[in-house]
């Protein structure tokens, strides 16, 4: 026997909230292990069965021979209880005034009455991921995908083997996650320089705060020496002691060069160079979606700008012609604050040749701007130390002043833009089926130089059964059609000797991998209506990734049907294991340490080229109506 310590990362919890009032929990933690659910949502030990005298008598007669079992004892009690009750009633009817003894006998036996068996009825709920080999669960998946979904498609709006193309960028950090990650959009021609009249907007949901650590300012949008927008604590806490209200901190022009965490929010400095610091008077609530708009123009409203939190406005006044940096910043930083100087340190983050396999930024999906070698991955301790803790999407920068109180702009941010007119920068966080050339993870030990057009790494998924989001396919700026450098978010490989590692355990055990994997989340912002006109106008508009069941194009979905060509499979290879099979397929979920072979293992085994990165919950419709 050996003891193995099971840490947090060995445990996986799934929670499904059903209606009415049924909460199914599947967990390997503590006493939470349940794989079934009671049929009756409300049960009480106080409700029992009524066994009348006739039934009690018959039951007792039936079990007469069974003299030693509990069944007989139960029937005896039932009979005695029924008799005591009937004696009391008969006595009362006969006019007797003392029925206490029979009622006492009845009361003494009531707690022995059998429980209502309906309260014990449970129905199992199963949750499973598609297996790596062909099993009955493969068949369940195929029947669901090929039979049930097409059959029920006319009844439901979104019944098919796809998921919605409405996503958020999820920024977070904790003790296991590196803080120095960010999206760096290169600014080679100054296209992202802060315009003289500008408006920056985004939707944000402050999801994360903990009572056990101080809340640190997290930067949302940073252009060095021009503008820095951060999320800061609003000094209100919930019942657990965690921050539950937040404010927007705005730093402009030269004031944007001071790290947001160093700004005293209670008494901000009014002296140059820290005089252009403003906070919103209105708050953002934790776990709520808010639209934020920062807008300013020297030619509008006497150089008065505004910070809008939804429709609540905070004005600020800057009598200046421009808030632009004197030198064009080399990149626009999303999700963190760049705390270093111009020059080589900044240049090095965004200049490299992606075809140079030895460079670092090639791992991070960066579109080339120059040819000089990029900087080493090592970053200074404070260089990116203001990680955002929130979900954001629909990030826009306009080259004009927008007064949200005007009727024409009233609903501007409730829908995605249909064109890039007046926009300088726009990241809707849509899936875009094209990416830069970069190193793509294929096993925990190997990467290959490739582009991607899928929502996740298909080689990694169909080869070794691992999950790895293709983050690069979600972060496109639709104005410049430019991908950022995903700083600190590239998939590392294992370069040491390890044993018994699975692809998923490797993914979740590595902080940057976990952060990359969770950087894209489904969007639950119902206040915003996504429109996909820009995808429709793009060069990838005819991609199969937007086709429902390979037919009608719908840009609001990401298809999961045919992720790899069936022609890549070996129809003649009938084995699913053994030496011949292993030689052909190479790396496999159970043997990820060898090089990938000529065909992807799981796809070859199951002959199924639809996504396995799904979870199926098999649960009775009693629980969801």
């Amino acid at each position: 026997m050996s003891f193995i310590k099971l840490g947090k990362r060995n445990l996986e919890n799934v929670s499904v909230l059903l209606r009415p009032h049924v909460h199914f929990i599947s967990s390997s933690q503590g006493a939470g292990v349940t794989g079934s659910q009671y049929v009756s949502p409300v049960r009480s030990p106080a409700i029992k069965q009524v066994i009348d005298l006739e039934n009690a008598s018959n039951n007792l007669a039936d079990s007469k021979e069974d003299n030693t079992s509990d069944v007989h004892k139960l029937n005896e009690d039932n009979y005695a209880r029924a008799v005591a009750f009937e004696i009391a009633r008969a006595a009362a009817r006969a006019g007797e005034t003392n029925i206490a003894s029979s009622l006492s006998a009845y009361l003494n036996l009531v707690d022995e009455a059998p429980k209502d068996v309906r309260f014990d009825k449970q129905i199992d709920a199963f949750r499973f991921d598609p297996p790596f080999k062909f099993t009955k669960n493969t068949t369940v998946k195929n029947v669901t995908r090929k039979t049930l979904m097409p059959y029920h498609q006319h009844k439901y709006d979104n019944c098919g083997f796809w998921y919605t193309n409405y996503n958020t960028l999820n920024f977070f950090d904790n003790e296991h996650i590196p803080t120095g990650s960010a999206l760096l959009y290169t600014n080679p021609s100054g296209s992202y320089d802060l315009p003289n009249n500008f408006s920056v907007s985004f939707w944000i949901n402050p999801r994360y705060s903990k009572a056990s650590r101080d809340y640190r300012a997290g930067t949302i949008f940073h252009l060095s020496s021009s503008i820095c927008i951060s999320l800061v604590s609003g000094s209100s806490i919930d019942e657990f002691g965690a921050e539950n209200e937040f404010k927007i901190l705005l730093q402009l022009s030269q004031s944007a060069d001071k790290a947001p965490s160093l700004i005293d929010l209670s008494t901000p400095s009014s002296a140059y160079p820290n005089d252009l610091v403003f906070t919103s008077s209105h708050v953002l609530k934790k776990n709520h979606w808010h639209n934020v708009l920062v807008t300013w123009s020297n030619s509008s409203n006497n150089s008065t700008g505004s910070i809008f939190i939804d429709s609540n406005k905070t004005d600020f006044h800057i009598p200046s012609a421009s808030l632009n940096a004197t030198k064009s910043p080399r990149f626009l930083c999303i999700g963190n604050y760049y705390d270093n100087s111009y020059g080589a340190t900044m240049d090095g983050l965004v200049t490299n040749d992606p075809k140079d396999a030895g460079s670092n930024s090639i791992n991070e999906g960066y579109l080339p701007a120059g040819v000089s070698p990029d900087r080493a991955l090592t970053r200074g301790p404070n260089e990116f130390s203001h990680p955002l803790n929130a979900e954001i999407h629909d990030i826009r920068m306009y080259n004009k002043y927008i007064n949200k109180n005007l009727k024409k702009y009233e609903n501007l941010f409730e829908e995605s833009p249909t064109s890039t007119d007046d926009l300088v920068f726009y990241v809707p966080v849509y899936f875009f089926p094209s990416s830069s050339l970069r190193d793509v993870l294929v096993t925990p030990f190997q990467r290959i130089l490739s582009t991607t057009n899928d929502p996740f790494s298909v080689q990694y998924s169909f080869g070794v059964g691992g999950k790895m989001t293709n983050l690069e396919n979600y972060t496109l700026d639709f104005v410049e059609m430019r991908q950022p450098r995903h700083l600190g978010l590239f998939p590392y490989t294992i370069n040491t000797t390890v044993q018994d590692v699975t692809a998923d355990s490797y993914t979740y055990d590595t902080g940057s991998n976990a952060k990359r994997l969770l950087s894209i989340l489904p969007n639950d912002n119902g206040l915003h209506k996504p429109r996909y006109d820009l995808l429709e106008k793009s060069v990838m508009s005819a991609s199969n990734m937007f086709k429902k069941s390979g037919r009608a194009i719908d840009y609001s979905i990401i298809a999961l049907d045919n992720l790899i060509p069936t022609s890549s499979l070996y129809p003649g290879l009938v084995f699913t294991s053994g030496s011949i099979f292993d030689q052909i397929v190479g790396s496999a979920p159970d043997n990820p340490g060898v090089a990938p072979g000529a065909v992807l293992t799981i796809a070859q085994r199951t002959r199924d080229v639809s996504s396995n990165e799904i979870t199926i919950v098999d649960i009775s419709n009693l629980y969801y109506g």
Binding site: R89, L107, D111
Partner: protein, 396 residues
Amino acid sequence: MATFKTISSADIKTTRTTLNQLVDFVEEDVSGSATRKKYQVFVTSSGGNAVTSSLFQTVFDQNYALQTANEIFDMTFGVHSGSATAFSASTGVDTNGKILFTSESLMMREKINVYRQFSQTLLGDASGKFRAPFSSTTDTDDIDNALFLCFKRLFTRDGVKRETFAMRFFQSSSAGHASEAHPSNVDVTATNPSSGSVIFTDVGAASSIERSQFGGDVGNIVLASDTSQTVGLMFYQKGIAVLDIERALNSNQIMTGSLSAVGATGVAHISASFVPHFVASASMDQILDHVASTRFGSGSNTFLTFQNNTKINSTLVFCRATADEFNYSSNPSYTDSEGRIIVIDESEQGTQKSFAFVSTIGLYDANEELLATAKLSRPVEKNDEKDLTFRVRLDF
């Protein structure tokens, strides 16, 4: 695919059946503090020694902090404004009509208002007074000080079944501990197993069916050892038991102990009869705490039981398929392109009769709009040698 047949009124029958469950409440649920929840909404405005109290308490079948806990019943106490208890504690009425009480009393207006609320609900008159027996016209049968037990609908369903209610109850409080300088019997837990208790019941109530216009059917709760003594009322449809404190308890027993009080010390010592002194001087929480922890026992035995009624209204629709009906399907896949029935061999065409499997019955209105569907647990074969009747039952 559907084949239609008109259902006549003769094919539709309605029935009503009643289901019963046995309800069993155990002593420790009512006596335990983890299963009895207080809602301390009443606070006196007297500085440091303010008294805090609930207006009612709720008893649960498990620790009420658990997600699976169910509320069993609410328990509260009320005093009629015209009762001797109210008169003896009152010092008059102010210019606004507010009844004033001595400083030794506590929450008297709340106790009166609780009584008024139940009177309004069950008797239709907030000033009305409960009497036990219900139909009595004698003033001595008045219930001046009432303990109200309001059973939750989860347990009463459509009503408490008549003549099934039984409750074990300690009429006197145990004596205080002799070792104490001032023995208190206000908070001495009832003995376990039960001894010295009596049983209250409504068995025999069927002989005199009484009805309140607002509260529904009413039965008298009597002492089981002497059914001529009525101690309270049971409102069956409402699931509310009203116990007369003066008859259900030994109201003359001298209660000793400490009570919360507004004043310099915050505590008042009492040594006086249960009615009227204790019920006037104690807060609602203290009265309910005393009753709950000392009068029902504290073990795992049953202290209260009744049966409930669940009325089920059913509509039975008899869907008849005679020998020549429903032997064919209009499903396009039933026949081939030439109209031949696919499941019949070509060589058997003309000799073998058509047949179908009935899997679903749809009920349509006159406009042919589907109202309900009934699914068979397994398809039933229908051919010209079978005359079938499917009974579709709608329960509601």
